[in-house]
Symmetry: none
Subunit: 402 residues, 2 copies
């Protein structure tokens, strides 16, 4: 359990916490202006919070380590990703809301295109749209494998998730996606003796899938990867005594959130304002809200500096919806950096803003940005410290020792 010193210190409180994550928030300065996306964006609301609150910067996993989204979020949630290793299949299954239980084995699936020799010609089956994929997933759902229960759910376009349930299953199975075209998919291969039977069961299923897909023009094959069981993470309820909720549009983030015990709040729309309104609607029912904004990362990965800054501005413009709720603790940060100049995740520290009107200690900074955060009162700290700080400011921790 992370923070094994916390549970004896937890106390009830009616104080509420919001953790607002702009994915890939951290950036690098534009050569011309010398400003990062966050610094260039017009963010009057966040700047006010920065002036009233306290800044800092987080190290997502370890200095120099560029994290994937799963580990980066685990860290923000307080679970050291070097200790808590979670398979992508588990994130995927929980992310799409499948009934995924301890002992089950999940994997991510792709539809792919095979030629007559069974060689992959397109690893994503021409990125078939949802309306093409959905009936195919229905076909896959019809496959039965003796001795186990198999569940399949569509994720998006050419992607689906499979969960197998039965006695003595193991996820120690290697990916069947060869990560290249011009070769056939690999068989599911056990990476440990105890997974022999499980690999065989998945191979049966794959063979059956190819059979039902045989006549498809594009999606006539499947590959599986990220075989994983439920990591059975200790939940927010035990670790922090919180009743937490997640507002996130993307399955992966919903998946990580669910794995740590968060309730997923459904909402329509996909703008920051839509998300914040979902928080408002559920405000009474939870004491912790994780709100995830995806597009800062997407724009960063597209190399779109302006686009990323615009998303940050749209978050700032919608912020009054959250502020009107009068949260006791509001933290605004990213899970990692995604500088648009690099078009990818990076290892750079992540800007962090803590605003807690009753207990915050303002620092010298008055704007939310990377350089201001290096001078902030919270210093540079591991992302895993985020939750204990939040609990303290929510007056949910009693004194340690006398």
């Amino acid at each position: 359990m992370p923070f094994n010193y916390l549970p004896p210190l937890l106390q009830e409180s009616d104080k509420k916490i919001i953790l607002l994550v702009m994915d890939g928030l951290g950036g690098l300065p534009d050569k011309a202006s010398g400003q990062t996306e966050l610094e260039a964006a017009q963010t009057p609301n966040m700047d006010r919070l920065a002036a009233e609150g306290c800044l800092g910067q987080t190290i997502p996993v370890r200095p120099g380590i560029t994290p994937g989204s799963g580990p980066a979020h685990l860290a923000l949630f307080g679970y050291d990703p070097l200790t808590y290793d979670i398979g992508r299949g588990a994130l995927s299954a929980t992310g799409v809301g499948m009934d995924f239980k301890p002992g089950d084995v999940a994997a991510r699936g792709n539809f792919c295109s095979l030629d007559k020799e069974g060689v992959i010609t397109d690893r994503r089956a021409g990125r078939i749209p949802n309306e093409v994929a959905l009936p195919l997933v229905e076909k896959l759902q019809g496959i039965e494998i003796p001795g186990v229960e198999v569940m399949v759910r569509h994720v998006k376009e050419y992607r689906f998730t499979i969960v197998m349930r039965g006695e003595g299953l193991s996820a120690e199975i290697e990916d069947t996606d060869p990560q290249q075209t011009g070769v056939p998919p690999l068989p599911a291969k056990a990476a440990a003796p105890e997974a022999e039977r499980s690999a065989e069961l998945f191979n049966h299923w794959i063979a059956a899938a190819w059979e039902v897909l045989a006549d498809e023009p594009k999606a006539n094959g499947v590959t599986l990867r990220g075989f994983a069981t439920d990591p059975e993470l200790p939940k927010y309820q035990q670790v922090y005594g919180l009743n937490p909720a997640c507002v996130a549009g993307y399955p992966m983030y919903r998946g990580v959130a669910r794995l740590v015990g968060m309730e997923i709040i459904e909402f329509s729309g996909e703008s920051p304002e839509d998300e914040f309104k979902a928080v408002a609607k559920a405000w009474k029912d939870f004491d912790f809200f994780f709100v995830h904004v995806k597009k800062t990362d997407s724009k960063g990965e597209d190399g779109d500096f302006e686009g990323k800054a615009k998303i940050i501005e749209s978050v700032d413009q919608a912020l009054p919806v959250l502020l009107d709720l009068k949260p006791d603790v509001l933290m605004i940060t990213g899970d990692h950096s995604t500088p648009s100049q690099l078009r990818s995740h990076s290892w750079h520290p992540v800007p962090f803003l803590l605003w807690a009107p009753a207990t915050g200690r303002p620092d010298t900074q008055t704007q939310f940005g990377e350089r201001a955060c290096t001078l902030g009162g919270l210093g540079t700290f591991p992302a895993t410290d985020t939750m204990p700080l939040a609990l303290a400011h929510a007056e949910r921790l009693i004194k340690y020792g006398a």
Copy 2:
């Protein structure tokens, strides 16, 4: 042992270190002025040291954790309080200077008021003054329990400390103070099988105590809590190669200091100047001085912003007494924060000032205060790093490796 890499690096030096702790030093800004107690206080001496020296802020235990005074001091002394857990009885016994040895069991005692049914009507016996308590403690000292030696010492008002010495004693005993009135005191109850006999011995003693106190108008009962043995901490002499002394007025701090090997210096008076003069008097005999000022914390807990600032000013005014000694390393900090707005200890980082004229590296800051410390050259660091820093600046550490 903390810092197991240090002993091979230790070298002799005639350089002297002072660690001046203003209890609960850290604060929060006053809404009107925007300044904390430390920032608002007129501290020309400390500001000069800040300009010549280096600032930083410490995390006492872990981010978000509000420490009690015992754990907070252990951390400053270099002993991670999550590793070194010390019972209050042990702090109390060593704090009042009792002969407390490994294997002994100590507990804190309260005189209390009992009605005819043996129900507690006042957990502190009307806070009887010292002159009423002292003869009662003498009565308690007269009690003999076969098979063990029992020592009792008065602490203050209604409080005393008891130490039991004998073969095979255990401190795994639950408090007898029910922490409320209207119920009888609890019996001493073993929390582990090996403590059965010890609990019984304490129950014998409690029964005998009630007998000798039966006719007292107020203090006709006792409760015991914080049963503890000597934690047998590694001492400063071994860990740091130092010959350390403590100047502190309050028993608890003298207790922690004694547990890590410090000699307690007796002095009269209770002002910072009285304490600093005691340092001067003992200057030749020790190479490390821990000086503890209590009232910053007391004023903080009273919610007295002005009062806390005034205590800080009185420390500053007396500081020349210490400076005249020409210490090689002077560190000024707190053990934790006690913002007067919160009227309690808090988790906020603690201002830290390091002044070492021969080896210090001045930073950009010129005033001692919370915000200046966030910009200081030492950054934000665990309080447990304090002692190695002090040793380095006292030229007491050789190079690690070639």
